[in-house]
């Protein structure tokens, strides 16, 4: 492998098409968007400013294309492009469940389309690719890690990473760190244990596996009452994380514990579920953890992107990590050691929690656990935030996230000593969609945009050096706001609501913004080129 990558570095800029230069992963995205979040920080901030506040009102459609394969759930549902595309050397790569494409970034023209023959699994969504040199990696709903040749779309190899018959299903974008392809798994229907795996980029061979729940006798096992509870404790790894090359730490969030709404068989904090964890990507060893939802009983998967912020906190320069968690709290940590710097709610009425403990962790209110006759909980199951990509803009110092205030009913349906599966049900009662701009130094919401309609919003966010914040609203508009105050500067109506995180890149002096909405990709650029 190494000779290929060295050759790529030497030839960088000399050829029209070439392997991904790994150095691109270490830089803010400009001419490429080479990983799920654009770079390792998870900021989804690009310094590009050709499109800016002065000219964004003239932004034009460059191209749009429909992709009709890879429907949701059982496979026959509507197509929803949840993948954040990669853009490398003028080619856009993205996926839907069981399907992957390469398209020309300048025109949207299809270059190749790969189809995986599925054996099952929930087709909820695919979040895209990881890339290493000329090789692409994505996950299938039936939990195979598949490597494709980026030039041709031909499969190089595939490895099963989880057993779909045990109700695992897979779809996160693999994370590429050095020579590690890091792949996570999903599925919380039947109390299977979560883990994260690293595979060799060339052969696909397993390098390491880290279990999100301990085994008896291991650190963390004291937070579970029994062997069976930790082995059936869930903690899925269904979203990509972030990486600090100086500290050599991979950060990601873990999912909820199981059984989901019936926690009586798993009394304790249930480490390392609903946590932010830092692993050494070379060994898969845990370096530190911070549990954002101890003993969760509301399905508050804590997989939201842990965004890396280098900046000032209380007068001191610090390396930090920020997350707007599904449970409704904004958490700021020192990412060298996982120590809490601040925790603050970013929406109102978080009645599931009694407040914060001395380490800034929310304290769950046992009275608000699901009950057979119903508990009115805020936020509802989908949470105050979810996987939809947030953005941090270093120019404003603000952390942006789509959010919602909501109430839902949680019913416990399994009151036995040994509940299984969800052990309960939820129904959302009411929801208000928001875009929150949070000052990372205080945790305070500096400005808030309230969308004037109900309904879900799954759009991610992107901020740029042009003084713009891009995103989608619940009624199929893509927009650009002033990130300082939330003022709308541009919008366009699409066929569907934005369903992924917008990206931006520059090709031959022309800046593009590309996003997915339902079954289509849209590319916008300025006129006159």
């Amino acid at each position: 492998m190494r000779p290929i990558l060295l050759a790529a570095c030497v030839l960088a800029g000399a050829l029209a098409a070439q392997p991904l230069d790994p150095a691109k992963l270490l830089q803010p995205p400009t001419d490429s968007w080479p990983t799920y979040n654009g770079d390792y920080t998870g900021r989804r901030y690009s310094p590009l400013k050709q499109i800016n506040q002065a000219n964004v009102s003239t932004l034009n459609l460059a191209w749009t294309r429909r992709f009709t394969a890879g429907g949701g759930r059982g496979g026959g549902g509507p197509v929803s492009i949840k993948a954040t595309p990669l853009e490398v050397n003028g080619i856009v790569y993205f996926a839907t469940p069981d399907n992957a494409w390469a398209v020309d970034a300048r025109s949207g023209r299809e270059i190749w389309h790969y189809t995986w023959e599925t054996t099952g699994g929930l087709h909820i969504g695919n979040r895209g690719f990881g890339m290493y040199g000329d090789w692409l990696y994505f996950e299938t709903p039936d939990c195979h890690l598949v490597s494709l040749d980026a030039k041709t779309g031909k499969m190089r190899w595939n490895h099963q990473i989880a057993d779909v018959k045990q109700e695992y299903f897979c779809g996160p974008a693999p994370m590429v760190i050095k020579n590690h392809i890091i792949a996570g798994v999903g599925g919380d229907s039947l109390d299977v244990p979560g883990y994260l795996e690293s595979h060799d980029p060339e052969t696909g061979a397993l390098q390491w596996r880290w279990n999100t729940t301990p085994r008896p006798g291991e650190p963390g096992s004291e937070t579970w009452p029994s062997k069976g509870s930790m082995e059936h404790g869930g903690g899925m790894t269904w979203h990509s994380g972030t990486y600090d090359p100086e500290l050599n730490l991979y950060y990601f969030g873990t999912g909820n514990p199981n059984p989901v709404y019936a926690p009586q068989s798993r009394l304790g904090n249930n480490l390392y579920t609903c946590s932010i964890v830092a692993l050494n990507p070379d060994t898969g060893k845990l370096v530190w953890y911070y549990q954002v939802s101890p003993h969760d009983s509301h399905d508050f998967d804590n997989v939201e992107t842990p965004v890396l912020i280098d900046g000032e906190f209380k007068g001191q320069p610090r390396k930090m990590l920020a997350q707007a968690a599904r449970n409704g709290y904004f958490v700021l940590l020192d990412r060298t050691n996982g120590k809490n710097l601040l925790t603050a709610p970013f929406v109102e009425a978080l009645n599931w929690s009694k407040g914060l403990d001395a380490e800034g962790r929310p304290i769950p209110n046992p009275d608000m656990e699901a009950k057979p006759d119903g508990t009115l909980v805020s936020p509802t199951e989908g949470g105050a935030a979810n996987w939809f990509a947030p953005s941090f803009n270093p120019l404003t110092g603000l952390f942006y996230t789509h959010a919602s205030e909501s109430y839902g009913l949680d019913w416990k349906t399994d009151i036995s000593k040994t509940p299984e599966g969800y052990g309960g049900r939820n129904q959302t009662i009411w929801m208000q969609n928001l875009l929150q701009a949070i000052d990372y130094k205080t945790g305070k919401v500096v400005w808030s945009h309230r969308y004037p309609n109900q309904g879900g919003n799954r759009s991610g966010l992107l901020s740029t050096g042009g003084g713009l914040l891009f995103g989608g609203d619940p009624t199929s508009n893509v927009f650009a706001m002033d990130p300082a105050n939330g003022k709308m500067l541009w919008h366009a109506g699409l066929q569907s609501s934005v369903s992924n995180g917008p990206i931006t890149f520059e090709l031959n002096g022309r800046q593009y913004v590309v996003l997915g909405a339902g079954d289509s990709l849209y590319a916008f650029t300025l006129p006159g080129h």
């Binding site: 759930r73 018959k165 109700e167 229907s189 057979p372 006759d373 009115l376 349906t413 309609n453 009624t475």
Partner: protein
């Protein structure tokens, strides 16, 4: 556990396991035929239930089979069949002399058990009527101010004949579908910079456009940046109450509402 041998002759379970339907989107594997499940359940209770529990979730004498990796990886008896015929003598489970059809029936029952655990949308709700109807009535007419808009003998008369308690619980908290009839519309008044004010029922709104249907039945739309908009949402009070309810309040109200026959 006493293995009772009931070798079946003749009919072999040949019915197709059907693909999951939209109503069971959480289930990604074929659903076993009901008749095979029924036969498998009867057989399971007799032969296996003593150790594994009648619901296959295990007890002190035998392990849970619903979340068993062997059971989950099984296809119509492919894995459990050989194990049943061999037994686990060292762990106290004898060998069973079972026909292929009996094994397939047991596999069908166990698959049904796992799918019942997986399909949370079909989990049966338990008793929701734990509140105090008198206290609910007092809240309805008092602190909740529900009687400002509603009447037990008017719009809500016969409510409990229209809705089951589970429907009623979600709908009174926030009645998205109206009271069982036509939902009361959200109304909007639009004031342009010049020209007359326009009012009507709200049909669409986002940050950029508002659309309403006026008293003459015409659809009218406006750019939001050119008008002032005033929305009157009849459900505002419901949303506000969500922040005020105690756990007792909303259970009491449900107990009261089910008395409106």
């Amino acid at each position: 556990m006493f293995p009772v041998l009931q070798r079946r002759t003749g009919l072999v379970t040949a019915a197709l396991w059907t693909a999951s339907l939209a109503s069971a989107q959480l289930i990604s594997r074929p659903i076993p035929p009901a008749d095979a499940v029924e036969r498998g359940q009867k057989q399971f209770v007799i032969q296996c239930g003593g150790c594994h529990g009648a619901d296959a979730r295990g007890d002190d004498n035998g392990p849970d089979l619903v979340r068993s990796v062997i059971v989950l990886d099984d296809e119509k008896g492919s894995l459990i069949g050989p194990l049943l015929r061999k037994g686990f003598p060292n762990e106290g489970m004898p060998a069973f002399d079972l026909s292929d059809a009996q094994i397939q029936d047991l596999a069908a029952f166990l698959r049904e058990r796992t799918q019942a655990a997986i399909n949370r949308n079909a989990y049966p709700l338990q008793n929701l009527l734990t509140g105090n109807a008198k206290d609910g009535e007092a809240f309805f007419n008092g602190a909740g101010r529900c009687n400002t808009c509603h009447s037990a003998t008017g719009d809500l008369a016969g409510l409990s004949s229209r809705f089951q308690p589970a429907q009623l619980q979600t709908r009174f908290l926030y009645p998205r579908g109206g009271r069982g009839g036509t939902p009361k519309p959200t109304t909007a008044t639009v004031t342009p910079r010049t020209g007359p004010t326009v009012s009507g029922s709200l049909e669409f709104i986002d940050d950029f456009t508002i659309g309403l249907r006026d008293a003459d039945g015409y659809y009218r739309s406006f750019s939001r940046d050119a008008v002032k908009v005033d929305i009157q949402d009849p459900l505002t009070a419901h949303a506000q109450l969500l922040k005020q309810y105690t756990d007792k309040n909303f259970h009491d109200i449900l107990a009261y509402l089910v008395t409106l026959k």
